[in-house]
Every structure is written in structure tokens, then in C-alpha cells.
């Protein structure tokens, strides 16, 4: 019987990484981000919304700097010293005034600023927690069981209930709201990331890369990350509309931001309380329009960018 004992062991040593050789086999001039942007630019509706949203966000930031803007919490009085309550939209007050005489125009932009800030903060924190948790969950096999159990416990409780409970126990305010929403929002992100990593971790091309001696860093950066970008961007973009929605809900329950902080939740709620009188409905409709434009734009943009950044759509 023939044995193979005399085969030299160095034949089984992985070859060292050679950057030049690695590039030769790759796509000649494929660039991930260039392709993503090219496909994204083909989507006219998304481009328009990006433009619209960009202007809107920019405007909420610079609005207080324009001349003739009133502070959002200032009560306005007429010449005789009476507060200008429930003034209809007009030349002087573009969106009218509310029940105690505050300028609705400045309140809406101030409120949008607050709500977008909450949304952005929550979105980023969720992204951070979700990526770290999901990556550990999908990559480190020893952690799989415990992390699955923790996830199942948290995921089994309705988000509404966690949010209500947190907001009920802590003192209502900006930080409570952000904390409560961060606690509930990352589940989806973590699960998506974990599933993606489990799916592509042992695909043939990754196996091949590993056999050819590619470092873990390069595998993560070149092979795994492009698949995750679309998911991460989509989830982060979608977390902003849902954060605004939760804020409105918590405010309705009386667990939202204090009344003197203008936010979209507070504005919608103020509008709701007087929506029975038709001539005052503008106080509900104006905040709603701004809110809807923002949430719909983020939703559509998130989906469009997810499509564009998915490498499977690049060829």
C-alpha cells in the first residue's frame, strides 16, 4: 500500500497575502461606493426626496438665524397687551398662533429640530448596539446560545409595553425618551445583522478567501461589510420615522417631553386637543404635513438606498 508520508509539510502552509496578486483576480475597476451612488442616482423620485429633505433639515437648523423670526416659546401680544390667541394663518403669522399666542411657524421648525435630534440620536445608538450585538451573535459561536436567549426574552415583550414602562418609571424628559427608545429599537437591527453574517460567513467565496490566506480584517471589510451596509442604512433610516411616531404616542399618554419644549409630538397633541373646532384645525394640519413629509422621505430614501447599496444589484 502506498503512503503519502513523504509529502513535504510546507505544501500545506497558507500562502502569504500578496496585495498585487489579490488585485489581479478582482474586478478591474469595480468600486463599491461608486456603483452604489450610480444606482442611487438613477432613482429620480429618491433624488427629489433627498433634495427636499436636505433643504428641510437645513432649514430647521438655520431658521432661527433668519431676520424677523420669533422665539418658539415666546407669547405674542397685540398693541393693547392682550395675547394673540388662535390667530389664523396670515401675513404676520404664517402658520397662525396657538391657544396661548405662540407663533406656530417657529414652533414647527423648533419642534422638527427637537424630533429630528431625538430620531438621529436614537438611530445612531441603535445602529451601534445592533451592529455590535449582531456581529458577536453571528460571528462568535460560543456566544450564540446566551445571546439568542437574551434576544428572545427582550423580543418577546411588546415594544409598546417596554416604552410605556420605561417612560412611566423614569421622569419624563429628553433623556428618558431617548433611553427608552434605544432600549427597544435595536432588536431588529441586531437580528438582521446576525442573520446576514450567518448566511455569508461560510459562503464559498469566504471559505476560498480564508484558504488563500486573506486576513480577517480584509474579509470583514471587503466580503462581509458590503452586504451589511444596505441593511444598516435601511434600519437607521427607518428608525427616524418610527422614533417620531413613538414620540407622538408617548406624548399622547402624557409621558412625553415637557409641554414647554416644542417637539412634533407636543405640537400634534396640542393640535389634537382642539381639532373639534374646524377653524382651528390648521394647528393640527401644519405640524402633520411637516411630520409626514419627513417620515415619508426617510422611509422612501432608506429603501432606495438599501436597494442601491446591495451588491447584488450592482451588475
Amino acid at each position: 500500500m502506498k503512503t503519502y508520508d513523504d509529502i513535504p509539510a510546507e505544501l500545506f502552509v497558507p500562502s502569504p497575502m500578496d496585495r498585487g496578486e489579490a488585485e489581479k483576480t478582482g474586478y478591474s475597476n469595480y468600486s463599491y461606493w461608486r456603483s452604489t451612488i450610480r444606482i442611487f442616482l438613477q432613482n429620480r423620485a429618491a433624488l427629489f426626496l433627498l433634495f427636499l429633505l436636505g433643504i428641510l433639515v437645513l432649514f430647521t437648523v438655520v431658521q432661527p438665524l433668519f431676520p424677523g423670526q420669533r422665539p418658539a416659546t415666546q407669547v405674542n401680544f397685540d398693541a393693547k397687551g392682550f395675547p394673540l390667541r388662535n390667530i389664523q394663518p396670515g401675513k404676520e403669522y404664517w402658520f397662525g398662533t396657538n391657544a396661548i399666542g405662540q407663533d406656530l411657524w417657529s414652533r414647527i421648525w423648533h419642534g422638527t429640530r427637537t424630533s429630528l435630534l431625538i430620531g438621529l440620536l436614537v438611530g445612531i445608538v441603535e445602529m451601534g448596539i445592533g451592529i455590535v450585538y449582531g456581529a458577536l451573535w453571528g460571528y462568535v459561536r460560543r456566544l450564540e446560545r446566551p445571546l439568542t436567549e437574551v434576544f428572545n426574552v427582550l423580543h418577546n415583550i411588546p415594544n409598546t409595553i417596554i416604552l410605556i414602562l420605561m417612560a412611566y418609571i423614569l421622569r419624563p424628559g429628553f433623556s428618558t425618551m431617548v433611553t427608552a427608545m434605544c432600549l427597544t429599537g435595536w432588536h431588529g437591527m441586531a437580528r438582521f445583522i446576525r442573520n446576514q453574517i450567518v448566511i455569508i460567513r461560510d459562503r464559498e467565496y469566504n471559505l476560498a478567501s480564508r484558504c488563500l490566506g486573506t486576513g480577517t480584517g480584509r474579509i470583514i471589510y471587503k466580503n462581509l461589510l458590503p452586504y451589511l451596509v444596505s441593511v444598516v442604512m435601511l434600519q437607521t433610516a427607518l428608525s427616524i420615522p418610527s422614533t417620531i411616531g413613538w414620540e407622538v404616542f408617548l406624548t399622547y399618554l402624557g409621558l412625553g417631553l415637557p409641554i414647554d419644549v416644542p417637539s412634533l409630538g407636543n405640537l400634534v397633541n396640542e393640535g389634537r386637543s382642539i381639532m373639534m373646532s374646524p377653524e382651528l384645525r390648521y394647528q393640527l394640519i401644519f405640524p402633520t404635513i411637516v411630520l409626514s413629509v419627513i417620515t415619508v422621505s426617510f422611509y422612501i430614501l432608506g429603501n432606495a438606498f438599501a436597494d442601491a447599496s446591495d451588491p447584488r444589484n450592482h451588475l
Binding site: 423580543h155 418577546n156 411588546p158 409595553i161 414602562l165 399618554l253 402624557g254 402633520t288 411630520l291 422611509y299
Partner: protein, 313 residues
């Protein structure tokens, strides 16, 4: 299958115990002022002490926790303090359950029938007017917070259609708007799901084989395509049903429906701690039970699934 069910049941029970314990301990973090009732500023220290003692709030937390579980096992959810003073919570909640259940079930059925029908037609009419209009609807419902668009349903529904704005159990007309509101989200979700499922499925090889064999299109649809849709449907149906029953917190509240969801909003406003605690526990158990039933149902229906390999959902 049996082993899987047992394991899944154990998992749900562990979750339930953790949730109950955590909720209970969290509620202990609240200031005790909530327990003194409406005239707490007129009480002196010894009276306050007596009240706290009565509710067992002076015991160490583990004694309280043990007593709480002992009460739970007898079906005692605690006693209301402010909402209806000294009435057991279970007695307050009981007459409200039918409202939540009836609305939840009807809304789930409506959104299932309409949503799946719409989604199916969207897939077969892909890219045409029907598809576009309903895609717009789905985007609107998914993106705009329900707390906002439901206000407009209530406002203009009662304005333009002359329907009653608030719920009144003796007027059938007043049932319409809450039902519509409860179904809107479900319709969008079901339609979106169905459309994606159908579009994927219509390109599958088995469909082409069926057509090549000369099977009538309708039969392929009924016997093969729809058959495969049951599995994912079965998994999420109980959870959706139960979350509609429980999750109508906002809708019950804006239409003043005397169900459990509206009650939660009420007692949060009045800071009635035992009531909040009991309702939060009920709602979270409902969620856990829903996911449990979904997994069991799915395992029953789909012969391919053997979940005892430690597979997560």
C-alpha cells in the same frame, strides 16, 4: 415535535417569569406617594406608614416579590388605588376584555382578507395602476406614524361620512371607524407581505413545471403557491391577532372604547401603580403567548421544520 413544543413552552415560561419579576421590581422604584390616594397631602407620617404597611411596601423586596407571586398564583392581580379605590384589578378588567377581543379579532380578519386579496392582485398586476396606488398606500401607512394618520381618520371619517366620533355600544355606526382604524395597518402589512411573496414565488421552477405539465393556472395557484404561503402566515397570525387585541391602546383611547387598552392610558394618567403594573403584565404575557402559539402552529403545519436543533426564529 413534542420535545420541541415542551422546550418552546419552557422558554416562554422562563421569559414570562423574567418579565414579571423585572416589571415588579421596576415598579418598586417608583416613589411611594402613588399609594396614598388622592388626599395624600393631608396625611401625617404615621398614617402614611400605616398605608405602606397595609400594601406590604415596608417589607424587603424579596418578601414583596414572593408575596406578589403567591397572589398571582391565586389570580389576584392587586387592588386599584386611585382609579377605583380598593376594587380588585381583575374585577375592573374583566368586563373590558370582550371589547378588546371582539375588536381585535374582527380587525385581524378584515385586514387578513383585504390585505391578502389586495397583495395578490398587486403581484399579478405588477407595475400597473392598481399596484402603484396600493404601493402608495403601503408607504403612507408604514411611514407616517399611526398616531398621526388615525387622528385624521377619526376627524374626517366623522366629518365627511357623518359617523359617530366616539364609541357607543348601542350604535352600530360607531363601530365602523375604530374597526377601520384598527385594520389599516394590518391591511398594508398583509398586502406588502403577500405581494413580495407572490412576486418571488411566480418565478419559481415548480410553477413553470406545473404549467408545462398542463395544470390549470388556478389549480397551481390554489394547490401550490397558496399552500406554501400558509407556513409564514401561520407563524405570525397568533402574534398579530393578540397584538391587535392588546395593542389597540391608542385606538381604544381616542374612540373611548371601554376596553383594556384605553384603560391603560387612563391609569397612566392617574398614576395608579397597581393598575399599571397589572395591565403591563397582561399585555406582555399576551405578546409572549402569541409568539409561542405562532411557533407551535408553524411546526404543526410545516413538515419540513424540525426546530429542536436549537434553531432560532
Amino acid at each position: 415535535m413534542f420535545i420541541y413544543s415542551l422546550k418552546r413552552l419552557a422558554q416562554s415560561l422562563v421569559t414570562l417569569v423574567i418579565v414579571v419579576t423585572v416589571v415588579f421590581l421596576l415598579m418598586r422604584l417608583l416613589p411611594v406617594e402613588g399609594y396614598f390616594g388622592e388626599r395624600f397631602d393631608k396625611l401625617d407620617d404615621s398614617q402614611k406608614e400605616a398605608i405602606l404597611d397595609k400594601y406590604g411596601l415596608l417589607d424587603p423586596w424579596y418578601v414583596q416579590l414572593f408575596n406578589f407571586y403567591a397572589d398571582l398564583s391565586r389570580g389576584d392581580l392587586g387592588t386599584s388605588i386611585i382609579y377605583r379605590a380598593n376594587v380588585p384589578v381583575s374585577k375592573i378588567i374583566k368586563p373590558r376584555i370582550p371589547y378588546s377581543v371582539n375588536f381585535g379579532i374582527s380587525a385581524t380578519v378584515i385586514s387578513l382578507i383585504l390585505g391578502l386579496g389586495i397583495g395578490k392582485k398587486m403581484a399579478t398586476h405588477k407595475g400597473r395602476a392598481w399596484d402603484r396606488v396600493w404601493t402608495g398606500y403601503i408607504i403612507l401607512v408604514s411611514a407616517v406614524p399611526s398616531t398621526v394618520y388615525l387622528l385624521f381618520v377619526q376627524l374626517y371619517g366623522s366629518d365627511l361620512l357623518h359617523l359617530p366620533m366616539l364609541f357607543d355600544k348601542y350604535r352600530i355606526g360607531s363601530w365602523i371607524l375604530p374597526l377601520v382604524s384598527l385594520s389599516l395597518g394590518g391591511i398594508a402589512f398583509n398586502a406588502m407581505w403577500m405581494r413580495r411573496y407572490m412576486v418571488d414565488e411566480l418565478n419559481r421552477d415548480y410553477l413553470k413545471l406545473g404549467q408545462a405539465k398542463g395544470l390549470p393556472y388556478k389549480k397551481i395557484m390554489r394547490k401550490h403557491v397558496m399552500r406554501n404561503a400558509y407556513v409564514p402566515l401561520a407563524q405570525y397570525l397568533p402574534a398579530t391577532l393578540l397584538s391587535t387585541v392588546a395593542g389597540s391602546i391608542y385606538i381604544e383611547s381616542i374612540y373611548s372604547i371601554p376596553g383594556m387598552g384605553g384603560l391603560l392610558v387612563d391609569v397612566i394618567g392617574r398614576q395608579d401603580n397597581p393598575m399599571v403594573q397589572a395591565l403591563v403584565l397582561i399585555f406582555s404575557s399576551v405578546g409572549i403567548v402569541g409568539l409561542f402559539l405562532g411557533d407551535i402552529l408553524m411546526a404543526l403545519i410545516d413538515p419540513r421544520i424540525k426546530l429542536n436543533k436549537g434553531e432560532t426564529r
